[in-house]
Amino acid sequence: MAGYIAHRLLWSIPTLIVITIATFVIIQLPPGDYVTAYIAELVETGEVIDAETAAHIRHEFGLDRPMYEQFLTWIGGILLHGDFGLSLDWKLPVSELIWDRIGLTLLISMLSLLMTWAIAIPIGVYSATRQYSFLDHLFTVLGFLGRGIPDFLLALVLMWMGFLYFNFHVGGLFSPAYENAPWSFAKFGDLLSHLWVPVLVLSTGGAAGLLRIMRANMLEELGKPYVETAYAQGLSERQVVWRYPVRVALNPFISTVGWALPALISGDVITAVVLNLPTTGPLLLRSLQNQDMYLAGGFILILSVFTIIGTLLSDILLVLTDPRIRHS
């Protein structure tokens, strides 16, 4: 087991190197650079910048140097000093920008992930054990609706209804009064009153999909002979269902739980933009639009690391839960 983990960890190093290089190259691929985007933005507001100033800015940011040199400086900073570079757009250190938002992002994502599982697994199990019952049909309809409605649309509808009927302050995670206030009990309450909308929106789509998967897995497992054996041992239906087929049916969930880790950070960008959430998703989107390469690169690097760790975690979990994998 320890050997397996060490082996997997060693292999993740070359993977990471390749990913960072690819990331950096891809960010540089579109024509122009941050300065071009910056100038274009200024031109829109009526300001004009001459070529000399542009070249000056470029030189200041090191954008005139060859790509490999920029890459080495960037990666060297990260490895040696934990310095992710400067966001060209925000004129702030990248790490500061990202860590600033990561707490709330993790909070929202974790809550919606837990909510997704809490909705999907019991309903999926119920639907499978009572196949074609009234409630199964009802959950099927709701499941397809939940899957079919885009998250951002649901977010818009909820915001509109909240505004219209309950006079909520919608969007964002705080009321304006608390936005920049220091943390207090009242601010926390305010956060909770805003939090349910994004958590609900983010979990419905996922839950609807997962419950279909859970139902299908369970139906397959319930038909297997070992379920009959379990009944023949004298177990009750509840014991049979939760101890045997559910355990096997959860395997696909466990093998994909690692993907939830990067998704925790990138989140649902569109929903976050619509709901005006101070999470990392919109920041990543903006950095890509503005060719804010160090910010974008830093993001993608963190996401890659999380993906690799997540995959490793779910593989280890799978080995722990499924003896068939452990011994082969």
């Binding site: 002979p225 023949a232 041992q233 004298g234 096997v248 068939r324 082969s328």
Partner: protein
């Protein structure tokens, strides 16, 4: 229910309501089992033999309905349980399953839980029906594995089904079924999925354990050879009917029902005349949605009596030595 019987099935009828129509899968099955007796149930696929066995466990598929009949089981303390009158999930039923009636299945590959070790699975049964301590359970489980002649029982407890061969899995399955000393063992084609050598070993094992523990066994198979080897009495099933039930010698040397005779003639023999063409039963098994009127076997029967067999359902005729058959030939 007679005093000396442990299980009595009377007039059992089971049907399935399906979109295509009603399938009468079991039509008036009667048999009884005495303590320590081995009853073989022989029949082809779809003859209702497995379903009859499931009814003893009250574990019929959810779309199956019992339209008539009763299944009565006498526990070792003398109490008689009317199984089909019990709810599927009732405490009494759950106590019976695994506790008083053990069951082993056809596919040892898939009939054991893939995510629990052999030991854990045996201990589950033990914890349900006994109040042994954890430590005593482990010891009992190891003893059971030793009893079914598995090597290194203590190590075997930690093994998972996929790490064992088919024969070993079936041994584990038997150990699990016998863990609480059931007075009746249901064996649903336990050797069909095994190769011939392993089959012989497993049969020997079941027989010696049956002898040792003096339990009754219902052994379901489609193999007459297996029946000849292990059964005291045999019930032959065709299309949901138990067409003939008799002591094993009477089935082989004095069969009363034309279907039993036809089946026996279609077994290849090593000793008989050379280059003899193997006899087969004419025709095909009828469509279960449209069972023949009268005797269900009349469409394929060599001794069919026009008029009578095609229109009247034959009653059970009783012979000496508890032999019984459902055939018009023997009715006055």
């Amino acid at each position: 229910m007679q005093d000396e019987t442990i299980l009595e099935i009377t007039d059992l009828n089971i049907c399935f309501e399906m979109r295509e129509g009603t399938v009468n899968a079991v039509n008036g099955v009667n048999f009884s089992v005495k303590p320590g007796e081995v009853l073989g149930i022989v029949g082809e696929s779809g003859s209702g033999k497995s379903l009859s066995a499931r009814s003893i466990m009250n574990l019929l598929p959810r779309n199956a309905t019992v339209t008539n009949g009763s299944v009565k089981f006498r526990k070792s303390d003398g109490e008689v349980v009317d199984i089909l009158a019990e709810k599927r999930e009732s405490r009494k039923m759950r106590e019976l399953r695994g506790g008083h009636v053990g069951m082993i299945f056809q596919e040892p590959m898939t009939a054991l839980s893939p995510v629990h070790s052999i030991g854990k699975q045996i201990m589950t049964t033990l914890s349900l029906h006994t109040d042994l301590s954890k430590k005593a359970q482990v010891e009992r489980a190891a003893d059971l594995l030793a009893m079914v002649q598995m090597p290194k029982p203590m190590e075997m407890l930690k093994k998972y089904p996929h790490q064992l061969s088919g024969g070993m899995r079936q041994r584990a399955m038997i150990a699990m079924a016998l863990s609480c000393n059931p007075s009746l063992l249901l064996a649903d084609e336990p050797t069909t999925a095994l190769d011939v050598t392993t089959e012989a070993q497993i049969l020997d094992l079941i027989m010696s354990l049956q002898d040792e523990l003096n339990m009754a066994v219902i052994f379901i198979t489609h193999n007459f050879g297996v029946v000849a080897e292990i059964a005291d009495r045999v019930s032959v099933m065709y299309l949901g009917n138990a067409v003939e039930t008799a002591a094993v010698d009477d089935i082989f040397y004095n069969p009363k029902h034309p279907y039993t005779r036809a089946l026996l003639q279609s077994i290849p023999r090593l000793d008989g005349q050379k280059r003899r063409r193997l006899q087969t039963i004419e025709g095909m098994v009828p469509d279960p949605f449209n069972l023949p009127t009268g005797c269900v076997f009349h469409t394929r029967c060599a001794e069919k009596m026009a008029g009578k067999c095609t229109s009247q359902i034959p009653e059970l005729t009783y012979f000496e030595n508890d032999q019984m058959a459902r055939c018009h030939l023997h009715q006055a």
